[in-house]
């Protein structure tokens, strides 16, 4: 598989301005050196707690956020400094599905208009109506009944389907999904996840799938990147994600997720992390996770770990003291 998207040493810093003169007094380091590749046809899952920079990453990928430094390449072309005309060309191949299906649709636009909007923007107005109906069918909406309705007439799950229809309208190669199922009810969430998987097979799509829910990521992703404070802590294949996770943060996250299985839930050992996420305006020195890490030593306070391949193929861990097999056995689900 060739890589469709490459992210190299990406930094996004937001200035903090203070006082009457709006002098810059610091920076929120939302992304602080991200390296990722997405291969054609796969799903890259990105998981992390709020404030880790996952949404900034999504916005940077689709060109909604200019990076401070670093490169993002789509099919080998760097587009970090692209003009708006170049971005227009690029976005035909790269679409986004948002978290909130209530605010990401224009309440005054009929469903058919919302889905047709990207087609019109790219002047593909030939057979517009039949194309919109075809798209509605693809995402499981009824084109005869729903064609002329307004967003408020739909449930959350149906609205997310409209958002998906709009994203696939231009037959893009890559879809960036930012928490697309977290606002949905449990029973509806499964419908939308299944739809994502079916469409991927049918249309040969590549996903960057961002979520805070590890179970969702474990279900849908081929490869997983775990983020913390603007950095990638661990990358792995899905198969090794929960069984061979080596970074203490990944393991803490995994152990924090309550399992819908009372026996397993009550038997396992849980790593409860101390404290809370530090401010990204003032990230800790050395390893950014050291302030909450159960394994941190003095060494971690001054030295920055780089991601290294360890053990399992495709697994890279940015940690000086990765969790060993024996320790892992105690906390495994």
């Amino acid at each position: 598989m060739t890589s469709l998207l490459e992210i190299k040493d990406l930094h996004v810093h937001f200035p903090i301005k203070n006082g009457v003169l709006q002098k810059t007094t610091g920076h929120v380091k939302a992304l602080n050196g991200i390296d990722l590749t997405v291969k054609k046809g796969e799903t890259l899952g990105i998981v992390g707690e709020s404030g880790c920079g996952k949404s900034t990453l999504a916005r940077s990928i689709v060109g909604l956020q200019k990076p401070t430094s670093g490169d993002i390449l789509f099919e080998g072309n760097n587009y970090t400094d692209a003009s708006s005309k170049e971005l227009y060309e690029l976005r035909r191949n790269m679409q986004m599905v948002f978290q909130d299906p209530y605010t990401s649709l224009n309440p005054r636009m009929k469903v058919s208009e919302s889905i047709a909007a990207p087609l019109k923007a790219y002047k593909r107005t030939k057979n517009l109506e039949s194309r919109v109906k075809e798209l509605m069918e693809l995402v499981g909406l009824n084109p005869d009944d729903h064609y002329n309705r307004l967003p408020h007439e739909f449930s959350g799950g149906q609205r997310q389907r409209i958002g998906i229809a709009r994203a696939i309208a231009l037959e893009p190669q890559l879809i960036v999904c930012d928490e697309p199922v977290s606002a949905l009810d449990v029973s509806v969430q499964a419908q939308v996840i299944n739809l994502f998987q079916d469409l991927q097979k049918k249309l040969n799509l590549t996903y960057v799938f961002i979520a805070h829910d590890l179970s969702v990521i474990n279900h849908i992703a081929d490869r997983v990147a775990v983020m913390y404070l603007g950095k990638v802590m661990e990358r792995s294949n899905r198969e090794s994600f929960q069984t061979h996770a080596q970074h203490p943060y990944t393991n803490a996250l995994l152990s924090a997720v309550p399992l819908p299985d009372p026996d397993k839930e009550r038997a396992r050992e849980r790593i409860v992390l101390k404290g809370e996420l530090p401010s990204p305006a003032n990230p800790p020195s050395g390893c950014v996770f050291h302030t909450r890490c159960p394994k941190a030593t003095e060494f971690c306070k001054t030295n920055i770990p780089v991601p290294e391949e360890r053990g399992v193929a495709g697994q890279e861990v940015a940690c000086f003291y990765p969790v060993g097999a024996e320790e892992k056995a105690r906390i495994t689900l």
Partner: protein, 338 residues
């Protein structure tokens, strides 16, 4: 300790009458944890609020049923008795800790107010008690944090403050309405551990309302599954997860992605979405979405019926019938049976 009998709660909205809670009965013993599981609109929050009569009236009315707390009917209590009950005997914590705290008062003042409302203590004593409570819920440096405003606390810390306020009068029952939904997983784990340790220390009974089956798997002794204002299955935590007797519970368990699974299995697709309670479906509320549904489900609305010791389900299929059909449905839907 708490006994709810055939409770009905109606909400009179401009669009029509919503039967938010439609004939709910359950019992809770002291020191026990009950989990109430349901999706949005299932009536779980309205039920929780009814337990201290907190639903705004209007639109809420209580046409039928009773809520007996230590033998006394909460629905018949006057305002004074209710005010005394809330906070002192039954305390509540909510999903959004920011909107439950007053943003213009310091945490210490809000905590001391809660203490002095129910206990005759001097300011100094109340202050001492407040510090103890903050230590109890794991807030570091409590003396300094008493001087902080709610916005200076993170989400998890605010939830801890609310738990401290809820615990101020050592209530016998703590009702937690989605207390961890707005929090990150690592913080959620901290709060769950905190609730468990508090229960162990003080023997508080807990009613945990959530949509997350994982949270109740960890915490609850018994689980009530709600759908469209009704309890559709109730049983011990093991019954609900390992001996499921109701299609909705079964479908729900198979529709959630699981971290402890390989990830390649398909999720069960439950058709449609939770029903509109102004115009609920005819017959069984779940039948339009139920993979086990048959013609008879349109006609009858099955009541909760015994499926084992302290285990009941609302379905026209008996346990053996249901167990037999599960296999076929799992194959048809392409999901794992267990």
């Amino acid at each position: 300790m708490l006994e709810v009998n055939n409770l009905h709660v109606h909400l009179d909205t401009p669009a029509g009458l919503v039967k938010a809670v439609d004939g709910v009965s359950f019992r809770l013993e002291s020191g026990q944890t009950i989990g109430i599981v349901g999706e949005s609109g299932s009536g779980k929050s309205v039920l929780a609020h009814s337990l201290t009569k907190l639903n705004p009236e209007p639109p809420a009315t209580y046409p039928k049923g009773e809520i007996l707390f230590e033998g006394e009917n909460i629905l018949k209590m006057d305002k004074k008795r209710l005010r005394n009950l809330r906070g002192k005997e039954i305390a509540m914590i909510f999903q959004d800790p920011m909107s439950s705290l007053n943003p213009v008062f310091k945490i210490g003042r809000q905590l001391m107010e809660a203490i002095q409302t129910h206990q005759k203590l001097s300011k100094k004593e109340a202050r001492q008690k407040a510090i103890e409570l903050l230590i109890d819920v794991g807030i570091p440096d409590p003396e300094r944090r008493m001087q902080d405003y709610p916005h200076q606390f993170s989400g998890g810390m605010r939830q801890r403050v609310l738990i401290a306020i809820a615990l101020a009068a050592r209530p016998k029952l703590l009702i937690a309405d989605e207390p961890t939904t707005a929090l990150d997983v690592t913080i959620q784990a901290q709060i769950i551990e905190l609730l468990k340790s508090i229960q162990k220390k003080y023997g508080t009974a807990i009613i945990m309302i959530t949509h997350d089956l994982g949270v109740v798997a960890n915490l609850a002794d018994r689980i009530l599954v709600m759908y469209a204002g009704k309890i559709v299955e109730s049983g011990s935590t093991a019954d609900i997860f390992y001996d499921t007797a109701m299609p909705y519970t079964w479908s729900l368990l198979r529709s959630i992605p699981r971290l402890d699974a390989a990830g390649s299995e398909r999720l069960l697709h439950i058709e449609g979405h939770p029903p509109n309670l102004i115009h609920p479906p005819k017959g069984c509320n779940f039948h339009p979405r139920c993979p086990f549904a048959r013609d008879a489900c349109l006609q009858t609305d099955p009541p909760l019926a015994e499926r084992g010791t302290n285990h009941s389900a609302a379905c026209i299929l008996s346990k053996p019938e249901f167990d037999k059909e599960k296999q076929a449905v799992a194959e048809w839907k392409g999901v794992l049976l267990s």
